[in-house]
Symmetry: C2
Subunit: 307 residues, 2 copies
């Protein structure tokens, strides 16, 4: 059965000091620390791209795991801020840069903060249905490209990063069950307009608090599980206060749900793999992941350790 | 088993007369007729969008098939020219406009002329893996948004259109087997640069003639089939000369492979559903579809009639 074998990540060296940003916006530093929970926001350097960031994540993966490029038969990239406006799909550019075999399926998927949970299921089901055996699922969504520098609501939140997840027939974790939801009627809460991100923070907060815990608990119910049966909860790291409130509302014990966005900010579809990469060796029997944001879109999945 | 139940399409009323374009470019009208094979190129009107065109395709589908919106649990849209730069993913906007249930998975995929063959497999495998039962797969890639009006190579070729394919457990056609290939090293042949499409026609032609017939014949071999076993070949309608040359090179009898782009031009991921919609009632036992273009990416699939 296909599943998650390993993960590589990349966090750009360039960054913005969020306390300096707070001063620029005349915002209380305590607010930045306590409510947003982010001191440092990584930024793609001026010569960096989605493709170069993904290649760096792949380099990181390769340092942990010998990868025979000839065997890679599927590449999927999740982004809503691709290079070249996504034409060609950036997964094809990665295919070219990595020198992969022609017998390799490549496509991009357009999703934001729910993208990792979705994308894992998309690539795994597509590979299984088509007899593919070794895939790379990349995430990289550099919101720095669309931040309005005068908008403190978004400038203080989003960081750039990339990840790659190796999907193989010798996995550490396999998908147990997932749930996917959409509320297109609420899509105005997070959107690109004139190539800038617009966010209604209050609407996003209400969505996270109302809808995400409900989905998590419905998935647990449908799986015949309770929060006690889950060893680790990896929730999308939107902002510290929103995250902690969502965790509490869902009835998740705080010690099981890491809040770790201080050095990265909200990295969109890369936030969950940035957490998961540090937990892969820890033999958690069950991991629940939940991503939520742009769409509005939210997705939750339970993964099980392969013993 | 999930498969193709029905198709709705939309061709905008606005259009460009390709012979007038030929005059503008001081190009031989015979060349436009014989080599390109397109007299009329539909264009999204100034108030039309990807979302509105997809809704029109859905309207067309609804006129053929009663659809209970409450039952739709998956929406996938294939485009590389989305509204709002794809943030939010336009499938979420469609979700909102159609007033679909919250228990509905929505995501976009970024692919061009291979997108229909890919997208069908992506949505079907994702739905099957997640127990989803009724899905809508949209295509709409309005190249009019990125055409350089001084570039006759692309202006004479591309038309706008949209399609929606209803995926259900009561299908007329089900996927037998598919093959997906990528040559990222050749991606320069078709790309967006400064928000304009650039095409190396010669490179695309060579790709179509060399790689597409090879994939078609490999898929037939792997399936234990020959061209005799296939009742209908639906190839991406790039341009008349390229298409006819590809059909011949693949050893496909001309009468089994429609060339029907006169009134639409190359509609990217909508070209195959625009053909298929006219064939759904015809009880072909086996249909081979093959899409190829931007990436470079090519995909071929065999579908079987459910009897």
């Amino acid at each position: 059965m296909l599943g998650i074998q390993n993960i590589g990540t990349y966090i750009p060296k360039d960054f913005v000091d969020n306390f300096q940003q707070a001063d620029r916006f005349e915002t209380n530093r305590e607010f930045v620390e306590q409510k947003i929970g982010v001191s440092t926001l990584p930024r793609l350097g001026k010569d960096e791209t989605v493709v170069s960031a993904c290649l760096n994540a792949f380099q990181n993966l390769s340092s942990k795991e010998a990868i025979d490029l000839e065997q890679i038969d599927c590449v999927v990239l999740c982004t809503q801020n691709p290079d070249n406006g996504g034409l060609p799909h950036n997964s094809a550019l990665l295919h070219g840069e990595l020198g992969l075999s022609e017998d390799c399926a490549c496509f991009d998927i357009g999703l934001a903060c729910s993208g990792y949970v979705y994308g894992l299921s998309v690539i795994q089901s597509f590979m299984a249905a088509n007899g593919l055996r070794k895939g790379l699922f990349f995430t990289c969504d550099p919101y720095s490209r669309i931040l309005n520098q005068d908008d403190k609501n978004t400038c203080l939140l989003f960081g750039d990063a990339a990840s790659v997840t190796l999907i193989s027939e010798t996995p550490r974790y396999v998908l147990d069950r997932a749930k996917f939801s959409t509320k297109g009627a609420g899509s105005q809460a997070l959107r690109r307009k004139n190539n800038m991100l617009e966010m209604n923070g209050r609407a996003v907060f209400n969505f996270a608090l109302q809808d995400v815990p409900k989905q998590i608990n419905r998935l647990l119910d449908d799986s015949g599980l309770t929060t006690d049966d889950i060893d680790l909860f990896l929730l999308h790291q939107g902002s510290r206060y929103m995250l902690e409130s969502t965790i509490k509302r869902a009835g998740i014990p705080l010690e099981k749900a890491p809040v770790r966005l201080d050095k990265t900010g909200n990295t969109v579809s890369s936030s969950i793999p940035l957490l998961l990469v540090n937990e892969l060796e820890n033999k958690h029997r069950t991991i629940l992941m939940s991503g939520f944001g742009v769409g509005l879109s939210w997705a939750t999945a339970v993964y099980r350790l392969v013993e």
